[in-house]
Each structure stands twice: as C-alpha cells, then as structure tokens.
Symmetry: C2
Subunit: 301 residues, 2 copies
Amino acid sequence: MSLTVVGSIALDTVETPLGKAEEILGGAAVFFSLAAAHFCRVNLIGVVGKDFPEEHAQLLSSRNINMDGLERADGKTFRWSARYHDDINERDTLDTQLNVLESFQPKLTQTSTEAPYLFLANIHPSLQLDVLNQSKPVFVGLDSMNLWIDIAPDMLKQVLKKIDCLVINDAEARQLTGENNLPVAARHIQNLGPATVIIKKGEHGCLLFGKDGQIFAAPAIPLDRVIDPTGAGDTFAGGFMGYIADKGNSDWATLKQAVVHGTVLASFACESFGPDSLATIGKDDINKRIQLFSELTHFTS
Amino acid sequence: MSLTVVGSIALDTVETPLGKAEEILGGAAVFFSLAAAHFCRVNLIGVVGKDFPEEHAQLLSSRNINMDGLERADGKTFRWSARYHDDINERDTLDTQLNVLESFQPKLTQTSTEAPYLFLANIHPSLQLDVLNQSKPVFVGLDSMNLWIDIAPDMLKQVLKKIDCLVINDAEARQLTGENNLPVAARHIQNLGPATVIIKKGEHGCLLFGKDGQIFAAPAIPLDRVIDPTGAGDTFAGGFMGYIADKGNSDWATLKQAVVHGTVLASFACESFGPDSLATIGKDDINKRIQLFSELTHFTS
C-alpha cells in the first residue's frame, strides 16, 4: 500500500570529523522517503525554493517517490548547517534558514490524500493537524521536536490524540512527559493517544512500546565508521513506516520487523554524507544487514 | 568451578529520587559476589575495618560465599556516599573515605588461589597485578576506572596483557583508547590483551566483543522503578563471571548467555537500596527474567 509523508526538504551543510559537505540534499521528508521507497510507493509533500537543484528532484523521482506534491515556491530552499563533535553523537547547529519553509502550507494531492499510510515528519503541530484534516489514513505516524513541545504543547497534544504511532527521541520523550524513566514516559504518551510509541536513543538503538504493554528493544547496528549521522532518525522512521505500509499491517510482529528494517536503513544513512547511500543500496544490501542485526541480538533462553 | 573476586567492601550512603539509605552494605566485591553466588562458589578477598557489622559478614557467608579471605584491619571500613539526580543515570559522589582500603594489600587464601576463575574488581592496577602473581587462573576478568586510566595507565596496560576479559563502561573505553567509536575502541582494547571486551552502557545495556570479531548487543531490562542503581555494573560482572565459572567454558555461546545472566542480575540490583534484592531472589526469579529478556529482543529474520 502507499504512504504519504509531509515534512522538510533542505539543503544541508554538514561538518563531521571525517569531512565536510556543502549544500547537499537533506531534510526529514527526503531521508524518510528514500528509506521508505525501498518498500513501497511514497508520496512526498514538501516545499522547495526556486534554487532547488533539478537533479535532486530527479533523484527522488527515480526512486519510487511520487513528486507531484512538491511545491516550488518563490524564495530560497530551507537551509540547515551543523558541525558534529569528535564524539559524533554530539553536534552544534550552526545555522537554520527557514526560507520557503516559513510559510509552508502543506497541500495534499488527490493521490497522497488516498494513501492509507501517513507520516507527519517534524513540522509545526498546527500544520500536522491541518494535514490530518485533509486525509483519512488507516495508520498515522508522527515525529516532533523539543521546540514544539516547548512552544506549542497543547496543539501537539491535540495531534497526539489522532495518531497511531509517535516516533520521538529519548530527550523529547522526557521533555514531553516530565518523566525520566523511559518505559513510564512511553505509557504516559500512550495515554495521550498513540497506541504505539518508539523512543529513539541514537547510537543505543530504540525501544518499541506496543498497545498491550509489550516492549521490544533494538540496538543500533555497530558501525566502524560513522561518516554523517544527519537524518538517521528520519531514515529510521522511513524504513519503519515503509515496511508497515508494504505489509498493510501493524500487528506486534510486523511492528517489530518494521523497527528492525528502520534500524538497518538508519545504519546505511550514517555511512555517507546526506542520503546518498540510501539511493544506492539495493534489496540484497538490506537483507544482508537484517541478517547482521539478527546475529547481533540472537539469543536462545 | 569456583571463582575468586578481589575488590572493595563498603558502607554506602545513597540518596536517590525514591529515598535515602545510610551506611548500608556496598562495594564492588560485595555486589559481584552476591550476584555470582547464584551460579557458583565465590571466594571474596577484601578488607573491612573493626566497625564492619557482623550481620553483613553473616549475610555473605550464608549465600555460597567463602569469607575466609575477609581481612579485618584496624581502622574504619571504606565509606562512599552519593546523590543521584532526578535522571537516575546521573549522580554526584558526595564523599569517599578510603579508610582501611587505603593500605589494602590483597592476600589470597589457598582456596582462592586455586579457583580457576578470577575477577579483579576496580582497585589500583598494581594490586591487580599483585593478585595475578599470586594465582594461576584459567580465565581472568577485570574492571577498572577513570582514575587509574588517568594516573596509572602504564601499570593498567601491564595488567591488560595478562587478562582474558575487560568489563568497562563506555566513557572509560573511550578514555583508555582515545577512540570515540565503541567497536573501534573495543578492538583497540583487544589489541592490548583481553580477547573479550564488554562495554557497559548503563540504562542502554552493553556490547560484548568476541575474539573473532563477533559482536553481541544486550539491552538493559526496562524497569518501571529504579530505586538505586549503585553496584549495577559490579552485579552485571558477577552474574557474567558466575555463569562462566559454573559452565567452566568461555566459548562465544557461553559468553552471550553470561552477558544475558549478568544483565538480568543487574536489573534486580536496581530494584532495592544496596544489594538486598540480590540476596532474596532465587533461581525462579532469575529464570523468569531471562525469559523476559528473550521476549524483549526476540526477532526472527
């Protein structure tokens, strides 16, 4: 089944201990789409400026991504710049220029409205609510960030009532609930709406919480060289949602498989600047790394 | 087979968000022994002062722990005091009084010398070396800390050449190797001596690195209530070493099982102040939680 994602498209400038890349393709919806498109057809809803290189749009179109929902607005594309520390789990954001993203009003195409699976990447909760009102999906995933928890918590809670799965990082889960213990924070979030909660922990992997109290812990795949972790969380969400949309099912066994697929896709995202590696890997590469994940965690009691 | 541990015995004063406990039984060798004794006979080598309550020694003796190596020195028992933050993964050490530990010279008994398994808990590397020279174990595990990496790195490296398994936390692994990437840091440590390396990551579990490049990732067991995490790492090491000593084997499958058993024991340690819970649980409690761990990570590719 098909999947719609609404979120940012960016030109990123990133410096890590292993190099620097300037004005490369980025943004949550881009990483998400390139990951999800390995499993299902993806409708991307987002905005770019007149300066957005045509080759980027072509790359996305060539990868099972429907770009009819790409809006080209007057002005410049959203830009984001960051420098990672020697410990690559830490970074400083150097610059954020919202540009055309500042007045973004997502407009769903007919095709994207009809997709049964929807992911609302990190944008203002009022826009997420607006998208929800334009569509009737069977399963909605959501991301958010510290900024919206800070300045629009009530709006965010309205959105949470209407979704099926929140994908959020550990610091955000703690901030949203005021609860330091992650299993307790997850249950708190479930009480706000979403039956399924995923708490991402960066290099430590993630925890999946199911509606009947189940927990699944997935470590990240250990990598010898992390070239650029930008977008790893969005890639995770793309692999997760793409897998679910492809199966047309969100039972516990499928959710666990989806988390493993998201974990594997995220590991590839860390191995290149920008989303390049997501566009070059194939089914075989993914399956080999699924096998690696299996060996990494295999234990018989 | 039997197991000897050399390390600290303490009276701890601990404050966590869930309460405060004063002058309770603590110390690395105590947590270690109470965990390991669920699997095998343990010889505890350590020192206390004349003020050490007899009931603590009796508790240890009652739990499959040989206390013949307990030295009662003139002076006061080692004392340690800490306050945990609301985020219980963070703590401030408030006070450390070495007392009799300051002049501790471990003397192995005949029985403890003959034990084929040996664990050197966190004490000065020169003492660890001294213990190694008193014994001929078949498998040696080691812990250390930031202080010794700082002030006695050469001595620590001499010890590392002679051991089989280093159990260390992530910050210490990074400090010891100057390498932020954990798999690379682990290989770096393996090149210094130990064929097996375990990197502990607190609430995120641990990574086990085998001599043939294998990696096993074990998440921590999610707990709704962490009452006091003091000694969880030492408890992990005790469960790990105790399991191996019981099996008399350290092949890859056994090492993985040992890590899971260490993980399970550590989860119990967090559920009471001090090591109380380790003394009250039985085989059934452990096996139930092994099953829980299995469900937490179970995935079929």
